[in-house]
């Protein structure tokens, strides 16, 4: 009898309703010696009906720092800057039938010299045996940049993005997920595809004078990324999560990223501990050079000295702790969390002695009802 009641309860909980209503907020701080970013964010999900869920979100990035800036007159100096970026999200999810979910979302992001509008639509389909979920989505991003530091006024670029995913329950303790993303950027020259409107490269001219010239990137960038993630429970309260991502683009950047996490629950999952590590290796973009020298035939058509386009290694280690209270007033669950991680960046093809060490510290809350 007890078994029958248990089965009925579980089956009842498996009826086609959307995930519960929830609200959350957090603040993260990123610092690497050159820049500090304070990022508050919040998200709310509410049910509009049994089959429709709405969500809204907001994130701000408050940037401040000092960075060497190459300008058109070849003066390199430490320049301080401050900027604030706001991003607003709105989304809706609706059940078409017991196994199919349709999603749509929009995002508007604005800072002092940059704006991005994103619209996406996606479909999620669960298999009849409820052991697999297939997802597909399409998004388009419209970027617009403007700056008084450059000639010209407003520049735009468009990005088309396709994502596909598959989540599989292999056993009662194992889940496998696959993801594929394809992105196509169509960038105007002044923006480039790195979303920075202020970058110049150092050039030694034929008469041995040093000047700074604006970076120029190819105006098309095709990117492909595939991800494989495996989650394995080791008993009732410990799970391992591992992932690998392969990335390639037509700028000759290849990257391999691997990560591993251990997630443990204590006191009936009222306390959750997570330790994780991540490693990335990235090759150099085909046109990247730390600096350029003018030849008789002129300069290369495309030039960049961005560290992000250099060959790099990065290692990350960190951890997270979460405390939860169940049945707190009208809330099913309320939780608070703290996290910290450190990332080491190294650039062996640019300058083996060049280092960047970054910290992220953050904390937040989450409530479900």
């Amino acid at each position: 009898m007890f078994r029958l009641v248990l089965v009925l309860l579980v089956v009842a909980s498996a009826t086609p309703v959307l995930a519960g209503e929830r609200a959350g907020g957090r603040v993260d701080v990123y610092a690497d010696g050159d820049i500090v970013v304070v990022a508050p964010s919040a998200q709310l999900k509410v049910d509009a009906s049994d089959a429709v869920q709405l969500n809204v979100g907001w994130m701000a990035n408050v940037l401040s720092g000092a960075t060497p800036l190459l300008t058109a007159d070849a003066v390199s100096s430490a320049t301080t800057f401050e900027d604030v970026r706001h991003a607003f999200d709105v989304g809706v999810s609706g059940r078409l039938d017991a196994l199919t979910l349709l999603r749509g979302s929009a995002r508007f992001s604005l800072e002092s010299d940059y704006a991005v509008v994103t619209a996406s639509v996606g479909l999620e389909r669960e298999s009849q045996n409820r052991r697999a979920i297939f997802t597909a989505s399409y998004a388009t991003l419209l970027d617009e940049a403007w700056t008084s530091l450059r000639e010209g006024t407003r520049q735009t670029s468009v990005t088309h993005r396709l994502d596909g995913g598959l989540s599989l329950l292999l056993t009662k303790t194992t889940r496998l997920r696959l993801g594929v993303s394809g992105l196509m950027h169509a960038c105007e020259e002044l923006i480039g595809c790195q979303s920075n409107t202020y970058r110049y490269v150092a050039v030694r001219t034929l008469d041995s004078g040093d000047i700074a010239l604006r970076e120029t990137h190819p105006d098309r960038r095709a990117r492909l990324a595939t991800t494989l993630r495996l989650s394995q429970a080791l008993g009732r309260y410990v799970a391992l999560h591992g992932g690998y991502r392969f990335y390639a683009d037509n700028w000759a950047v290849l990257a391999h990223t691997a990560d591993l996490a251990v997630h443990a629950g204590l006191a009936g999952e009222r306390v959750l501990l997570r330790a994780e590590g991540r490693m990335t290796r990235q090759t150099t973009a085909s046109f990247f050079q730390p600096s350029y020298t003018e030849e008789e035939e002129g300069l290369p058509r495309y030039r960049s000295a961005d560290r992000e386009l250099a060959g790099l290694w990065s290692w990350r280690v960190g951890g997270r702790v979460e405390w939860a209270a169940l049945g707190l007033g009208p809330l099913l669950r309320a939780s608070w969390n703290l996290r910290a991680y450190h990332t080491w960046y190294r650039y062996p093809t640019l300058d083996p002695s060049l280092k960047r060490n970054a910290w992220v510290l953050g904390g937040g809350f989450d409530a479900e009802w």
């Binding site: 409820r130 979920i133 995913g165 993801g179 993303s181 959750l272 960046y345 970054a358 953050g362």
Partner: protein
């Protein structure tokens, strides 16, 4: 392992679950918090923004939502 063998392995992993029944009451651990990955969508969004600014890599993070058999 050659790419052909890797594809065969992935195909086997993909098709195998369809042949085995996993009852709803056998999915408790899959629905538990420790199986959450990523844990926090807001934090994951911020991390993606950081990685996108510091590395030349993008995409692949939008893997399918967790299949827990509960919806």
């Amino acid at each position: 392992m050659s790419p052909r063998h890797l594809l065969l392995l992935l195909a086997a992993l993909t098709l195998a679950p369809g042949c085995v029944t996993l009852q709803p009451w056998e999915r408790g651990i899959l629905e538990s918090r420790i199986m959450g990955d990523p844990v926090d969508p807001l934090a994951a969004s911020f991390d993606g923004h950081v990685d996108g600014a510091r590395e030349a890599v993008a995409g692949g993070e939008a893997v399918a939502t967790d299949a827990c058999g509960c919806n």
